[in-house]
């Protein structure tokens, strides 16, 4: 059933929007933001692993970055061990990034922020997501 639904949504994107707006209204799903502001020493990488709360899952919609220097910070990102972005250099084109379709994250996500410069830098990462009740996700998943 979920495969049929997935195919329908792929072929009729507006159906996905309609279904999503119904679910969003019924379950009061709101936009949320997490934020990490890191000081990354020269030539080093900061790794952060964040556990998703047990009662929700994340539908990641995109990211916003704020760096004190462009072109010297690279970003790698995983959802539940699945590679989402690999060694993306943070420059003008990526400062405000949105996925074409939300990326699901069920249990945890990981970020690697690498400073390729010779001086320390501060990097702010904002994750834009919708928090969906885990109970709803579990019900839809087994359809």
């Amino acid at each position: 059933m979920s495969l049929i639904l997935e195919r329908l949504v792929k072929e009729l994107p507006q159906l996905g929007d309609i279904l999503y707006s119904i679910i969003q209204r019924k379950y009061d799903i709101k936009d949320s933001i997490w934020e990490l502001s890191l000081v990354v020493p020269a030539g080093q990488t900061i790794y952060a692993k964040v556990d998703v709360p047990k009662d929700i899952i994340y539908f990641e919609r995109g990211y916003e970055f704020d760096v004190d220097k462009l072109g010297v910070i690279s970003f790698t990102h995983y959802h539940d061990g699945r590679l989402i972005m690999k060694d993306i250099t943070i420059d003008d084109s990526i400062l405000s990034f949105r996925y074409s379709t939300p990326e699901i994250c069920v249990n945890y996500f990981e970020v690697y922020v690498t400073n390729n410069d010779t001086v320390d830098h501060t990097v702010k990462v904002k994750g834009l997501y919708k928090a969906v009740p885990r109970e709803l996700y579990d019900r839809v998943r087994v359809l």
Binding site: S32, W34, L36, V39, G43, K49, V50, D51, K124, A131
Partner: protein, 36 residues
Amino acid sequence: MSEKYVKKASFPQSIKVEIKVIKEGEVIESYIREVS
């Protein structure tokens, strides 16, 4: 527990964050903390 690498960690709910500092492929520092 060193906080010098994390200036701010903000999440709508209380959440566990594990931090590692990696230099030349080696983890030189790591810690876990609860943030909200």
